[in-house]
């Protein structure tokens, strides 16, 4: 009999892995600071919890298409309910965009480093990931190099704005160069909600129907465990996503939670305020000890500690050991080891991080 592994599609073995093992470690140590996953440290409000509890009583029923929720989300982007597809976190968009656009052998252009979930999802449909390094001098998108990498096999391009892990915004003129290629473009706005003063790129959709936006409630809204996200696109694009998404992909409870928090924007504003206050404090503290934090615009900060001679692995281990905080490991960039990423947690966890920075990197 043929061994089981021979039945599997070949890319199941060749696709890179998105490792979530850190979650098990973090859940197992509830008193450790989780400053590594770009989570929101503030739990859902009572209003959200009540809305979920209320709808749970109807949990025996299949959900409908949630016209009300789609309309409310559409209003955020000056589009209608048919321009919004709901999903179970933007991770579902990341998966489905590959299945919508890529056939085996087709290419997906992405910058490097990027959010680690994108490459494996492309590879798991037999797609080829074309990674273009960020510019060496400022870690901005290397637009020229990305455009140069386009071949007839290129079927979708990714721009995260602000970018992950750098937290840097792309300029409109650069973004439009991608749009002008006519190749499907995903603009991931996962972290945009931390900057309500910066507008969404939704204005591009009318002119460029091949562009779509990916949104998640896992960040500023604090729904990483509740799971909720949505696509914004033309009706044709949204229809494609809805065809690829499973029916009933979002639970009634997630949708009720989403509507409750949309009806109570102060909840998000407070979470954003907490985050941005600590981002400023972190920046000051890191600069003070001679590290280079990147001007970040999400709930995370990429820190260049390569000048200290410490490796990423050493920094992470020390933070875990001395202050019981998890930091995010960042792979070597342009041959240099010693980058890490940090996300503000609760006040007390952040104070531990500041103490770690002072003690570990500060002058002895």
């Amino acid at each position: 009999m043929k061994p089981l592994k021979d039945w599997f599609v070949p890319w199941l073995f060749t696709a890179r892995e998105y490792n979530t093992a850190i979650l098990d470690k973090a859940w197992a140590k509830p008193d450790y600071g989780r400053l590594m996953l770009n989570e929101n440290p503030i739990p859902p409000s009572d209003k959200v919890i009540q809305a979920v509890a209320d709808v749970l009583k109807k949990g025996n029923r299949y959900p409908d298409s949630m016209l009300r929720l789609r309309t409310k989300l559409g209003k955020l982007h000056n589009v209608g309910p048919d321009n919004i597809a709901l999903c179970n976190g933007s991770s579902e968009i990341i998966d489905c965009m590959m299945r919508i656009f890529l056939e085996p052998g087709d290419e997906f252009i992405v910058s490097n480093p990027t959010f680690g979930l994108f490459p494996p999802r492309a590879e798991l449909v037999g797609g080829k990931v074309v990674s273009i390094p960020l510019r060496k001098e400022d870690l901005q998108y290397d637009v020229d190099a990305m455009l140069k990498a386009i071949t007839p096999k290129t079927k979708v391009i990714l721009v995260i704005n602000p970018n992950n892990p750098t937290g840097i915004f792309i300029e409109d003129k650069d973004l439009i160069r991608f749009c002008e290629t006519g190749i499907p473009l995903c603009i991931d706005e996962a972290y945009l909600d931390y900057h309500p003063e910066i507008s969404s790129k939704d204005f591009l959709l009318k002119k460029y129907p091949q562009v779509f936006l990916s949104h998640t409630f896992s960040k500023a809204y604090g729904f990483a465990g509740i799971r909720f996200g949505y696509v914004v696109g033309t009706e044709e694009m949204v229809k494609a996503f809805n065809t690829m998404f499973l029916p009933w992909n979002v639970s009634l409870m997630s949708m009720a939670a989403a509507e409750a928090i949309l009806d109570n924007p102060e909840e998000v504003a407070e979470k954003v305020k907490h985050n941005n206050r600590w981002m400023d404090i972190f920046t000051k503290e890191l600069v003070q000890v001679g590290l280079k934090p990147f001007p970040a615009h999400g709930n995370y900060m990429l820190v260049d500690a390569t000048m200290t001679g410490k490796t990423t692995a050493q920094i992470l281990a020390a933070a875990l050991e001395t202050e019981h905080i998890f930091l995010k490991s960042i792979p070597v960039i342009h041959g240099k080891d010693g980058y890490f990423r940090v996300t503000p947690g609760l006040d007390e966890e952040n104070e531990r991080f500041v103490r770690f920075v002072r003690n570990y990197f500060g002058k002895k």
Partner: protein, 256 residues
């Protein structure tokens, strides 16, 4: 002349009331004029007096006729004219009147930014604590009030409308000043008897017959932009609907 068409399936009394209504609306009988006696009318119409009384009762209930004991039946509609509103595309009162060449006058009773309340918030898909611009107006033609209306618009978008001149078509303003295209409207119409405040706005006795219309109007994106509650005087408004061909239902196979 035959008032009643025996081949017409519409009940005789309704054919008669339609005929009398037309006589009034065309100006043949003006306000205050008395109708011929019931005996005369039943002869003209070739029906018995019971049928005739039914027809008169219909028009009395609609506020068009008034019976006075021992004196006869009088016309009490204030103007022979009725406004026709076609339920075909979104059109404004201003446009309805223009078609008739009547001068429009609009009186603003109240305009303000208010909390939406559950029902309005639900219809306009706002958050329960959302705000709405509310505009309450009386629409008149030739000094006769025709409609009392309450318009609810999402406050976030339309707050500034409260500062604008609202004595004309709001649809024009929504289109021109807010760049919102009114793409479609869901409307329901039902009969009501006017309560005190609204009856007095329309210069009618309490409990007069009226049409109550609820319109929920959407923009091009299928987002609701206006909830409108309108009270149309029953004696002054005619709604016209054009229907397509009769559709023969085929045997539907029900699928789950």
């Amino acid at each position: 002349m035959n008032v009643i068409d025996p081949d017409n399936p519409i009940p005789k009394y309704l054919q008669i009331s339609a005929w009398i209504r037309e006589l009034i609306q065309s100006g043949r009988y003006e306000r205050g004029a008395s109708l011929p006696s019931e005996v005369e009318l039943s002869k003209i119409c070739q029906v018995n007096r019971n049928t005739l009384r039914q027809a008169i009762a219909e028009l009395t209930a609609a506020g068009m006729l008034r019976k006075e004991k021992g004196r006869g039946t009088f016309v009490c509609a204030e103007t022979p004219l009725a406004v026709t509103h076609k339920l075909k595309s979104i059109s404004s009162f201003s446009a309805d009147l223009q078609e008739l060449g009547i001068r429009e006058r609009t009186r603003i009773i109240k305009k303000s930014l208010e909390g939406a309340g559950d029902q309005v918030a639900k219809k306009l898909i706002l958050s329960p604590n959302g705000k709405v611009a509310v505009i309450r107006r009386i629409r008149s033609g030739n000094e006769v009030p025709f409609i009392y209306e309450e318009s609810y618009l999402p406050g976030s978008t339309f707050r500034d409308i409260l500062e604008m001149d609202l004595t004309g078509s709001m649809y024009q303003i929504i289109n021109d000043r807010f760049n919102v295209t009114l793409a479609r409207s869901d409307q329901t119409i039902r009969a009501v008897n006017l309560k005190g405040r609204i009856a007095s706005y329309l210069n009618l006795p309490v409990n007069s017959a009226a049409f109550f219309m609820e319109s929920l109007t959407y923009d091009e994106n299928n987002v609701p932009v206006e909830l409108l509650y309108s009270y149309y005087r029953g004696d002054k408004y005619v709604f016209e609907v054009e229907l397509g061909r009769y559709h023969i239902e085929e045997d539907n196979v029900h699928q789950d």
